[in-house]
């Protein structure tokens, strides 16, 4: 994401009415406002891709929590992104069953194909690659999620096909 874009998305310092409606729905079944903290982070992230400082402050204010408290929560959970991510996040399983079934080669293939390592976003801002604990699909290892879709029995051809229309960035092939 370019600096320009980050700054623009940061202008979202107030919650949208859709976000508020969704958070309110969660608030309905917790006894304390702070009880919906994680839900609220996820709701806002679903809208904005990630949780910027400004988004975090807006949520904290709405839930009557301090930004510090919410920060502690946001940075605890790995599915809350406190840095910008690409359009889709690749959650790549590197746990034991996938490892036994050769996920390291697949990871390398993805890295080569997209030019990113763990924690990085492709130059075209389409993908961010993140390792994830066991995805609970070990019988179909190796697996990964791209956005909401689970991809199983991964092999190199599949990776090639999946990311066929993704530009190879400069960093690739190292």
């Amino acid at each position: 994401m370019s600096d320009q874009e980050i700054i623009e998305s940061d202008l979202n310092t107030v919650l949208s009415s859709e976000e508020i409606a969704e958070i309110d729905a969660e608030l309905a079944h917790v006894p304390y406002k702070s009880g919906a903290a994680i839900d609220a982070l996820k709701i806002v992230q679903a809208q904005r891709g990630w949780v910027s400082d400004q988004s975090l402050q807006a949520i904290a204010k709405y839930l009557e929590m301090s930004a510090e408290e919410l920060e502690g929560i946001a940075t605890f959970y790995n599915l809350i992104y406190r840095r910008p991510v690409g359009d889709k996040v690749i959650l790549f399983c590197d746990s034991v069953s996938c490892w036994l079934c050769g996920c390291e080669d697949i990871k390398q293939k993805i890295s080569e194909r997209l030019g990113v390592d763990y924690g990085e976003t492709t130059a075209d801002n389409r993908y961010t690659l993140i390792p994830v604990p066991c995805l609970g699909a070990c019988d179909r290892a190796p697996v990964m999620m791209v956005g909401d879709d689970l991809h199983t029995h991964l092999d190199k051809q599949q990776i090639e096909k999946l990311f066929a229309d993704s530009k190879q960035s400069d960093k690739g092939g190292q």
């Binding site: 006894p31 304390y32 400082d53 975090l56 402050q57 929590m65 301090s66 930004a67 510090e68 408290e69 919410l70 920060e71 502690g72 940075t75 605890f76």
Partner: protein, 925 residues
């Protein structure tokens, strides 16, 4: 109940945990995350020992001492190999990412981690990987952040958030990346942030002003002292080196401050090193040009002679001071004579303090210590913003609110020290606390109910609750609710104070307490407590309490013409008298002699000024809000020509050949004389041991055994070593010789014990965890309560008058600020920075009506002046009231209760930020 530890039989108390039991037995069981005031969470795993099922069990299993409750006959081992190996492994893993920079780390030499590392015997690291590192944050002028030293014990977060109620510091991230800090860089908001310095077992949070002129703990010379920041009287241990006060640490007193201070107390002593301190006596017009209004420095003896000349055989008035010691005030009174002595309180202050004293002398309610206040199960606050007027008390009230959760825990058989479990159980349930005040207070966040009323209405409200307790119905639902809350409680606390300068509020609080006590069964205990503004308000109040017609300050000003001289003791009259009254005092022919520490306008207008020692350079007794007299001792000798004010006064008396004071030459004799002067002071001699006290033949050393002693610091001036000063006035010595162990509680200058270099060594001085100091049991306790109530009660006749506010005018009410309102601490750079600008505080509707927002300027006009002040917008405020920052230079002339008009300051332009030093500060880490 007993337990066995390594075969040794240990007497334990039911309900305590094994770590506490071991520490109480004098055993060295290492720990980190446990804190005596905050209980256990079991995160560091350092306090491991082995527990055996029965005498036959030889293997046992590892348990955490802090998480294990004692049971009768339980068997443990500290020394079993698996226990020692485990504890060493804990330190080895804590050290994986820890910097190896003890020699240059600010915590070195008083580091809990360092102590524990040595204690478990860890030496050689096996880890060869890279260390994790963190970025530090700028946290304001008081606290330095150095995250790489963190061992993730969670103490800071638990202290700051759970204990002190701060919301802007917490744990972030997870696994071995946990980070303790703010969401974004910035000044820590809590007025108790300084305790992080002592709570953190390593050097993550350190005392920032101290770092600017750093010394090792072992190189600090210390003396037992009392904070002069407010009327609470927290016990402190200031440390000096090279004639500078380096820092202030907490000094444990289990009935007063326990383990914690407020930031004013910890950081507000910087004024002692200020350039604005007076070094020499100054005589106005004594220079070559005799018409000159400037001062010429004169020698001590000349100053005394001059003063004596002005006073001897003349009509003289004396003005005392609530921030000067009891001894100095007493001497001044004796010197000028009782009827010529004015307390130095403003008239309004004098009336409230008088009320408070009279109540304490007669009330049937308990006048609680801070420790007792922590046991309250319902609280009513009348008119005070306690966090700003008696900060340490507010911290105690936050703990009292947890009694509800302890009740719930007890039902489940959960001990109070199971901290996280008790908090999880209770969630946000707190004991009830109702705050009735004119506007925002810093305890609003935890109050069960907030009622915003003007001072007069607060007194009315309190009377209505009283009436309701006596069976009279009220149409105000809130009255009934408060009455119910109080009568349902086992240990209700009513707390009020002098900050609104309303004797009515204070009296109404007392009425209420009496009614409540009468209303209840005998088993229930009503507590009644008052906050007073200054360190010795109560001592001074007691001194003049028996006077039938005390000389009011305003009257003194009026009769100034009739006297030849006035002697002012440590009092900036600008804070207490109007401009016209001041003019009366200073523009006549009456000679004015002032004794003080720092430049101010009272001094500037005086004819002779005498430089006095600060609390850290002098000995004295201060009487706190609960009427506890406590002694402070000089940490170091006053520099230049400063003298303690009692010394000035004694010398004056000697030269003047004052009859009554002629026989007095030493401090202890003043104490003795004072104690005999009024029955209320009878116990003064028991406050602390006198100068003849010896422990095993020696005085108590101010210096540590590891003190580096002489250095070459003055070699540019002289290579000859000056001799160590001798101290004939106190039981302390300017020396490292002597024992610092088990002495009377009032004589502990610092804590240290072999193997325990950090402040955790305190447990070696305590009779038991959280209990009194050993020395307080063996000798006298820490301080003496002077007032013992007759319990006869008083007849209160309240005459509540409601000021009539014209349209467009507001009643001006004082808002006290931890940083900024107190006279002396405000001279400390860091405190001044935090105090920021003087302000006027408005409710939202008023701000709206005036068309101003927070930070903009408003002109406040009283009958005789106009002041432009920055606007603060309040979240709640009583009708027709506005607040002003009390004690700030710019608002010194404003008085509580003034009727003012307000208008937007049209000439005001938003300031342009040209530069800020924040970037520099944050890069410093």
């Amino acid at each position: 109940m007993i337990i066995f530890v390594d075969g040794q039989e240990i007497e334990v108390k039911q309900g305590e945990n094994v770590l506490e039991a071991c520490l109480n037995a004098g055993l060295d069981l290492p720990y980190f995350c446990w804190h005596p005031a905050m209980g256990s969470i079991g995160s560091c795993r350092q306090c491991a020992l082995v527990q055996y099922q029965n005498p036959e069990d030889t293997r046992g299993r590892i348990v955490m001492g802090c998480m294990t409750q004692v049971t009768d006959g339980a068997r443990f081992s500290l020394n079993a190999q698996n226990a020692t190996e485990f504890r060493e492994a804990v330190v080895e893993s804590l050290m994986l990412n820890h910097p190896h920079d003890c020699p240059v780390c600010a915590e070195g030499g008083e580091c809990h981690l360092q102590d524990m590392t040595v204690m478990v015997g860890h030496r050689d690291r096996r880890y060869t990987g890279k260390k994790n590192t963190h970025r530090n944050q700028y946290l304001g002028p008081l606290i330095q952040h150095e995250m790489n030293r963190c061992i993730t014990c969670y103490r800071c977060e638990r202290y700051y958030r759970d204990y002190a109620g701060g919301s802007d510091l917490g744990a972030q991230a997870s696994r071995d990346h946990v980070y303790f800090g703010r969401h974004q860089e910035g000044v820590l908001e809590s007025e108790f942030s300084g305790n992080l310095v002592e709570v953190c077992p390593t050097g993550v949070f350190t005392d920032k002003p101290f770092l600017k002129h750093y010394s090792r703990k072992w190189d600090l010379q210390s003396a037992p002292s009392i904070c002069s920041g407010c009327g609470v009287g927290c016990n402190i241990s200031p440390g000096e080196r090279y004639g500078k006060l380096k820092r202030v640490h907490n000094r444990y007193n289990h009935e007063v401050n326990g383990y914690f201070l407020c930031d004013r107390g910890r950081f507000g002593s910087g004024y002692i090193n200020s350039d604005q301190r007076l070094d020499y006596s100054g005589l106005k017009g004594a220079g070559l040009k005799s018409a000159d209004a400037t001062f010429a420095a004169v020698h001590q003896s000349q100053a005394i002679e001059t003063a004596a000349g002005w006073l001897q055989g003349k009509k003289v008035l004396g003005i005392g001071s609530p921030r000067a010691s009891l001894e100095s005030n007493y001497l001044l009174r004796e010197l000028v004579g009782r009827s010529n002595f004015s307390s130095g309180f403003s008239d309004a202050e004098a009336a409230v303090v008088r009320s408070i004293i009279n109540i304490q002398k007669t009330t049937v309610a308990t006048n609680p210590t801070i420790k007792q206040m922590e046991s309250a199960d319902a609280i009513l606050i009348l008119g005070e913003d306690i966090t700003n007027t008696a900060p340490r008390v507010a911290l105690a009230l936050r703990q009292a609110l947890r009694n509800k959760s302890f009740e719930l825990a007890e039902q489940l058989g959960l001990p109070e020290w199971q901290d996280a479990a008790v908090r999880n159980l209770a969630q946000d349930q707190l004991s009830p606390m109702v705050i009735v005040s004119a506007m925002d207070s810093r305890l609003d966040d935890v109050a069960s109910q907030l009622i915003s009323l003007s001072p007069a209405a607060i007194a009315d409200f309190s009377c209505a609750v009283t009436a309701s307790l006596q069976g009279q119905e009220s149409d105000d639902k809130r009255v009934q609710q408060v009455a119910n809350m109080l009568s349902a409680a086992k240990r209700p606390l009513i707390i009020s104070g002098s900050s609104m300068l309303s004797a009515n509020i204070v009296d109404s609080a007392a009425c209420l307490a009496e009614a409540l006590q009468a209303h209840k069964q005998a088993a229930q205990e009503v507590m009644l407590s008052f906050c007073v503004p200054e360190a010795n308000s109560m001592g001074l109040g007691l001194l003049v309490n028996e006077d039938k017609r005390p000389l009011r300050l305003s009257r003194l000003a009026k009769k100034i013409d009739t006297v030849d001289a006035v002697l002012i003791l440590e009092n900036d009259l600008e804070r207490r008298l109007s401009q016209s009254e001041l003019d009366l005092i200073f523009s006549g022919k009456t000679r004015v002699i002032s004794m003080d520490l720092l430049e101010n306008n009272t001094l500037a207008r005086s004819d002779l000024v005498l430089p006095v020692a600060s609390y850290a350079e002098s000995q004295g007794t201060l009487v706190n809000a609960e009427s506890r007299a406590q002694r402070h001792y000089p940490v170091f000798e006053p520099a230049a020509e400063r003298l303690c004010s009692w010394q000035w006064l004694l010398q004056l008396a000697a030269v003047m050949e004052h009859k009554k004071l002629a026989g007095i030459a030493h401090f202890d004799q003043i104490v003795e004389a004072c104690s005999k002067s009024q029955p209320i002071f009878a116990d003064l001699t028991a406050v602390a041991p006198d100068h003849s006290f010896r422990d095993r033949g020696l005085k108590v050393p101010r210096q540590t055994h590891r003190y580096s002693g002489r250095t070459a610091i003055n070699a540019d001036v002289s290579v000859h070593e000056p001799p160590q000063p001798t101290d004939c006035e106190t039981p302390l010595a300017y020396s490292m010789e002597g024992l610092n162990r088990d002495q009377p509680a009032s004589l502990i200058p610092y804590v240290w014990s072999p193997g325990w270099n950090s402040n955790q060594s305190l447990q070696k001085f305590q009779a038991e965890v959280n209990g009194p100091l050993k020395g307080a049991l063996k000798h006298s306790g820490a301080g003496q309560r002077l007032i013992k109530s007759t319990q006869q009660g008083l007849e209160y006749k309240l005459k509540v008058t409601h000021p009539r506010m014209q349209k467009g005018r507001w009643q001006l009410l004082p808002m006290h600020r931890v940083h900024g309102s107190e006279e002396l601490s405000a001279y400390t750079d860091e405190i001044a920075e935090l105090a920021a600008q003087a302000f006027v505080a408005l409710g939202e509707t008023v701000a709206e009506k005036l068309g101003v927002a927070e930070g903009e300027m408003v002109v406040v006009s009283t009958a005789d002046q106009e002041i432009s002040l920055q606007v603060k917008v309040l979240s709640r405020v009583a009708k027709n009231c506005v607040g002003f920052s009390v004690g700030y230079d710019k608002t010194k002339s404003l008085r509580a209760g003034d009727s003012v008009a307000l208008r937007r300051d049209k000439s005001w332009q938003p300031p342009q930020v040209i530069a800020t030093d924040r970037g520099v500060a944050s890069n410093g880490c």
